[in-house]
Amino acid sequence: MTALLAASAACERETRRFHDEAQPPAAGGVRLTALEPGPATSSRALRHPYEDNAWAVSEGKRLYSQFNCAGCHAHGGGGMGPPLMDALWRYGAEPENVFASIAGGRPNGMPAFGTKVGATQIWQLAAYVRSMSGLVPKDVAPGRTDHMQVKAGEQAAPEAVPRNAAPEPPAP
């Protein structure tokens, strides 16, 4: 049973999803605050499938450099844009939040990439962005690149539990 689970995890991790045509998150599904009127509900999203897929995350890492994300956010430490490797998320830490940040931009300087980058690649980028703070499994997260040593690879990133981001699920 364990072996089967491990095997299916391995298959999931290793698939090369060349032919994917991923869909953007459902409209209205993105939530940025813990506050809500009436009794609180949980809206914690499921991990996006790409976060279990090493190839998708590594594609995200490649695009992160090639689409100049690194120009503002450096390799996670930030610069013109905020750091991405820490536990603070201005606009939510869930994959849907990150997708929305990339696709729709954010008012204080994040450009909206949605018209220029397809949903598949945005999901790949979102998965990679989350890997920087250890939010995707270690065996999926990328190692070092063939470039300057600037930080430990994402696979060694300690999990930074998002603070002040998505709402906590209600107490049982």
Binding site: S65, Q66, F67, N68, A70, G71, C72, A74, H75, G76, G77, G78, G79, M80, G81, P82, P83, M85, D86, L88, G105, P107, N108, G109, M110, P111, K116, D146, H147, M148, V150, K151, A152
Partner: protein, 610 residues
Amino acid sequence: MRFRAFAGAGLITAVLGCTDGNGGDAAASAGAAANRTRVADTTAIASGSGAEWTQVAGDDANTRYSPLDEINTANAAQLTLAWSFSTGVNRGQEAAPLVIDGTMYVVTPYPNILYALDLTQPGAPTRWTYRPEPLAAAQGVACCDVVNRGPAYADGRIFYNTLDAHTVAVDAATGREIWRTRLGDINRGETMTMAPLVVKGKVLVGVSGGEFGVRGWLTALDAASGAIAWRAYHTGPDADVLIGDRFKPFYAMDQGTDLGVTSWPPDMWRTGGGGVWGFISYDPDLDLIYYGTANPGPWNPDLRPGDNKWTAGIFARDPDDGAAVWFYQTSPHDLYDHDGINESILVDLPWQGRDRKLLLHPGRNGYMYVIDRATGEVLAADAFGFVNSARGVDLRTGRLIPEPSKAPVTGRVVRMICPAAPGMKDWQPAAWSPRLRLLFVPHQNLCMDHEALEANYISGTPYLGADAKYYGGPGGWRGRFGAWDPVAREWAWTIEENFPVWSGALVTAGDVAFYGTMEGWFKAVDAASGRELWRFKTGSGIIGQPVTYRGPDGKQYVAILSGVGGWSGAIVSADLDPRDSTAGAGFASAMRDLPQHTTKGGTLYVFALP
């Protein structure tokens, strides 16, 4: 990376400036003594009483020298806080306040609020506030914090630039907006951070964005209407660069037709950088403006074979029509983001036995240039710190001689390049004391590991093509404040600081020099000896420009904005994470201990003798 441009703002009415070497008044009023006093008989200096501070650099010559001498080496130790003012903005405060007619004008970083403070009232209450409401998105294309280096004043109007690439003119009396001209497009990465200079009814402004592939320019606006009078690009065909018959560069390397096109791979000049975000100076005698152009884009030099004219150099232009008169390229085919934007300070000195009109340019590449400002001839270029990225400047050809072993290679880390990308000295303006004939230079001592990378031009996103990490250079200190003797071509004295000295300098006829540190200390030192006279701990790191003025009550005041940020302080102001050593384009790794020394702030401090 070019740094918050501060532009030498000229105030034609108030500043007579550069009166061809008759500084006798100043010298006389300065009186007093220091062990190194000389008579500044041939130096162009600010004139007037020094009661006001009407342009960021104090005068058109960019000396940051004040003839006030109430505060002097004997009494500076008694300086005390007179009043303070919170700007309400917690980003890097690089601006110089202006003082005109009993009113102080303070401009903040984004959102670029302009405050008019009434100095005639106790505690300097706000007379009016002007909010230009620049586009918030502009913050995303401002390379190195969202700073502003100050306003300019002329004819009852305050002019300044907003981050989203507009220039505004505001009525100095009422705070009413008179005109507002859009000069750039943030979607192309164009922002404006420099302080304008007003010359002969024209507001001179330049663009930032060398890290975004902008095509850099200097633009003259009609001070009355805000209409564009002329615009000189710094890449492209001669017609666009306003190169015509009058253009007589001194060196062969800068001579030729359409070098702004032919010294680039095809079409790369369209995204070649070369903005203007430093200070502009003006010599009314020669009727020329001087300013530096920023780095070429992208950073990776392998991608742009050629000299990449007219980036990383110094232009002399006619302010009336913008016509270029000469150009000297401090870093042809710039390898390390060593812009040419550092201020040019106009001084008249005897040089090798004859009086010459000179231009002092403490270069980002680590060389202190002494240039004949009439011709563009380089008379001296001496390293003023540890330089291993170049072997020197060939005075015969004018060319910087790069050190091949330190040249960037795509895909390979080149280690220990000194100075690092922020250069030996970045934007932080130096001050010139005509009395002492010393140049007071705040600067840094950083080296870097650098890897050149592929770069993709996607408009509105960074166009860098390099990863770098900086660290303190040899000696164990990261910053220094020193007095350079341009005639002896050596330091008269230096003060080593733990962090880069990212604030501007100020020197007075009282022979007191002022500067601030990134820990937040505001210091007064004996300009002749470098002896520390006084220090005050402000609320945040200092990266602003100290100014001095005589208040309506007749006392001399010294003012400084405190509020850490800028490229060097972004680790604090933008909460960067130094576990990634490339954070803040590599600066955060050199400053990883800064958060233990200071926090964000945005406060104006004004000091006076008790």
